[in-house]
């Protein structure tokens, strides 16, 4: 049915096939037949209404019921050549877990996912499935609407957690080899889990006081509840992973100090924690935040619950968020929840170039977020107390495509206008944080400040040092970071055994 079959690596193809040919799978495939499966409608994700959710930080999506999950699983055609797996950066055996859902074996389904992904409750929520597994789902090509793989992943992970049956895989005997993982974000947590499953003694060194990296400081509660993250981290702890908080690698101790303490291999997953600013006048006025600061105050430091928590954040009347990515959507929806009368996205291109996930944009629209496309701020003006009072913008129009293939925005002459704002959140991307890298002489760093690695192994220029996630990509997704981490963990395992 696919236009051209997608070639999977032989080892992965063999693993999938071994499951595909099992008797129960063959039997399930026959009943109901493919033609009937193709007629089944996609199960919608139940959501809290926009009015109800617009003023609190509780999760928007409610998750599928067991019945809806089984019904959705029936839509999966159980293809001989599943496109979905090729679209998954961590190569989850998607057909196997979905067929287990169809049979009602939800715990077994969760276990199947965890063979290659230790954090399914997170991925089921924040992965851009529509541009990964679901984009290459054969059902999408055949009938237009892909299987809701992400919603099913979320369902089985939540089911397993609610059942209190989070099973541990069988662990090999300890190897006695020590591995240091720098950063407890998606990449670091994944690498740690994979290495622990191989029997190595893993310590994560984390700068902040809670685990999760961007999952704790960046992604809001209404998209990823902290309790979910906590449960996933608890799973890693049960695998034997140790987390050292309040430890800034490169400052609290150097990589060489850790070597002297017996750590033989390193995985660097320090992320893209350096916010970009536009360098326009007024950007240091009180009331202009980086998205990192704004979201960190609200999420990690719980400023939404000020003054029960001590960390404050501005509660604006007119909030403008600069940018069109997921971080911008998180910021603007947060501003709205904190009471903004107007919460606006200011984006320099048009709607179709916006990098944010469609679901996030739709949720934002439902919640009353204003979108101002083809608009770019050129300066901010303050009041007598140095507080942000207004911003001046230019209108843009789209010109020729640039290096990214997107049409370049060009200013419209004479289109300047000024609007009152008392909060601006700059969400135009981030650069890799150089703090650790500066302390590692000999580490090859690319021109955007990213660590240079061999993409096949994630090995850096220093022996025993591997890296993945935004520190090598500059700014990507949670799941790509996790894919890198899996590759790196396999390489580290091979390195320790060599």
């Amino acid at each position: 049915m696919a236009e051209k079959p997608i070639e999977l690596p032989p080892e992965l193809a063999a693993r999938l096939k071994a499951e595909y040919v099992k008797d129960w799978r063959a039997e399930l495939r026959r009943n109901p037949p493919v033609k009937e499966r193709m007629k089944l409608p996609r199960q919608p994700m139940p959501q809290r209404g926009a009015g109800e959710r617009g003023r609190d930080f509780l999760e928007v999506n409610r998750g599928l019921s067991p019945e809806a999950a089984a019904a959705e699983a029936r839509r999966c055609l159980d293809c001989a050549k599943p496109g979905c797996v090729s679209g998954c950066p961590v190569s989850i055996d998607i057909p196997s877990f979905i067929k287990l859902v169809e049979k009602g074996e939800f715990i077994a389904a969760a276990f199947k996912i965890k063979e290659t992904n230790a954090l399914p409750a997170i991925c089921g929520r924040v992965c851009p499935q529509e541009s990964q597994c679901e984009a290459v789902c054969n059902l999408k090509k055949a009938a237009g609407v892909p299987v809701a793989i992400g919603n099913l992943e979320r369902f089985v992970a939540d089911y397993e957690r609610a059942a209190g049956e989070v099973a541990l895989p069988e662990l090999p005997p300890p190897t006695g080899r020590k591995v240091a993982v720098i950063g407890a974000g998606p990449a670091g947590l994944t690498a740690a889990g994979e290495l622990a499953k191989k029997g190595h003694a893993v310590t994560i060194f984390e700068a902040l006081h809670e685990p999760g990296g961007v999952l704790i400081y960046g992604i809001p509660e209404f998209r990823l509840p902290k309790a979910i993250l906590k449960a996933e981290v608890e799973y890693l702890r049960r695998l034997g992973v140790e987390i050292r908080y309040n430890f800034v690698a490169g400052k609290t101790a150097a990589i060489d100090d850790l070597k002297a303490r017996g750590y033989e291999a390193f995985f660097i997953g320090t992320g893209a924690g350096l916010p970009n600013f536009m360098k326009i006048p007024g950007e240091n006025l009180v009331g202009v935040y980086s998205a990192n600061e704004y979201l960190t105050r609200v999420n990690l430091m719980r400023a939404y619950d000020f003054p029960a928590y001590d960390t404050p954040v501005f509660r604006a009347k007119n909030a403008a968020v600069i940018g069109g990515g997921n971080v911008a959507m998180d910021s603007v929806r947060t501003a709205k929840r904190l009471g903004a009368e107007r919460a606006m996205i200011i984006y320099r291109r048009s709607r179709r170039e916006m990098p944010a996930r469609e679901e996030e944009v739709a949720h934002a629209e439902e919640e009353g977020i204003e979108f101002h496309f083809l608009t770019v701020p050129i300066r901010y003006e303050g009041d007598a107390y140095g507080r942000l009072a207004s911003m001046t913008c230019l209108r843009m129009e789209l010109g020729e495509p640039d290096a990214s293939g997107r049409r370049r925005p060009v200013p419209v002459p004479g289109s300047e206008f000024t609007a009152p704002v008392d909060l601006v959140v700059v969400a135009i991307g981030q650069s890799p944080n150089p703090l650790l890298l500066e302390t590692m002489p000999g580490l090859k760093v690319g021109k955007w400040g990213t660590i240079e690695v061999d993409p096949a192994t994630m090995a850096s220029s220093l022996p025993g040092v591997y890296a993945g996630g935004d520190i090598i990509r500059g700014g990507a997704t949670v799941i790509l970071a996790m894919g890198d981490a899996r590759t790196a963990a396999a390489s580290i395992d091979a390195y320790l055994k060599s």
């Binding site: 700068a207 006081h209 309040n246 400052k251 240091n284 990192n292 600061e293 404050p312 107390y385 944080n433």
Partner: protein, 276 residues
């Protein structure tokens, strides 16, 4: 969680806190700071490192009891634990044999500048120290500074002390009297600014340790943006030391007051709940 070794009042409103942090104690250098958080609901705040003991594995800071976080800190006892104590952060102060160095310290800065004073003396500098205090009973650690300083001057607006001359006048007099190679000032923003203005006409290099609001302290959030020599810097990773003649002081004052109303609100609430 990091454990408190000691917490006590040095002089009214200025407290010392010593925390068990072996890695930080081993790595600390003059001019660096830590970020700490007094309890699970508290704010992350930066404090300069005032001393450390690598053998004991402890780090000491001196802080002014001012807002909610520092009120909470001032009530901690030994063996209490706090959720956050992370460091050493920031770039260390440049230590070299500059010749004659004038150190100007006030308030918590008397503690904060001590590691620098000791290191500068060891590097062979001639050290002259000016300790600034609102009253004579607010001076502390003068015995320590006396050990490394050729001269120790106390400045105050209290007319009973040194003629009631504020720090700027003392600095101006020193600059007029002899060749000074470098000045270092640590204390509140107004104090550092007035020292910087006092040395500007003579063009004497003046290093200050900036104290903006911070959250993570590792360059991740940009809350601590300040302007030096016309460029935006992150005080946590580019500083905290800057050339005092290049700092945009007005901007720093305004940004430090970002949450003035919220800080009062939080403190009032805390006092209502915790004070008799």
């Amino acid at each position: 969680m990091p454990r408190i070794i000691a917490q006590r009042r040095l002089v009214p409103n200025l407290h010392l806190i010593e925390v068990e942090a072996p890695d930080t104690a081993r790595a600390a250098k003059p001019g660096q700071f830590v970020i700490l958080m007094p309890d699970a609901r508290g704010e992350r705040i930066p404090l300069s490192i005032a001393d450390w003991n690598a053998a004991r594995g402890t780090v000491t800071s001196v802080f002014l009891v001012l807002g909610t976080a520092t009120r909470k800190l001032a009530l901690l006892k030994s063996n209490d634990e706090i959720p956050v104590f992370v460091g050493p952060l920031g770039r260390p102060t440049e230590i070299a044999n500059f010749g004659t160095v004038v150190l100007a310290a006030g308030c918590y800065g008397i503690g904060a500048l001590w590691p620098t004073a000791r290191a500068l003396r060891r590097a062979g500098n001639r050290v002259i120290t000016v300790l600034d205090a609102k009253a004579s009973y607010l001076v502390y650690w003068d015995d320590r500074y006396r050990r490394v300083s050729e001269r120790l001057i106390v400045s105050s607006r209290d007319p009973g002390i040194g003629g009631g001359e504020y720090v700027a006048e003392k600095i101006k007099a020193l600059v007029a009297a002899e060749k000074i190679d470098r000045v270092m000032a640590v204390g509140c923003t107004a104090f550092m600014r007035s020292v910087s203005e006092a040395t500007r006409p003579a063009g004497i290099k003046t290093i200050v340790s900036l104290n903006p609001i911070m959250v993570d302290g590792t360059g991740m959030c940009g809350a601590c943006r300040c302007t030096a020599a016309g460029k935006t810097k992150f005080a946590c990773v580019d500083g905290p030391d800057f050339d005092g003649h290049e700092v945009d002081w007005d901007e720093l004052f305004l940004r430090r007051k970002s949450y003035f109303d919220e800080e009062i609100q939080a403190l009032c609430r805390w006092e209502k709940e915790n004070l008799p």
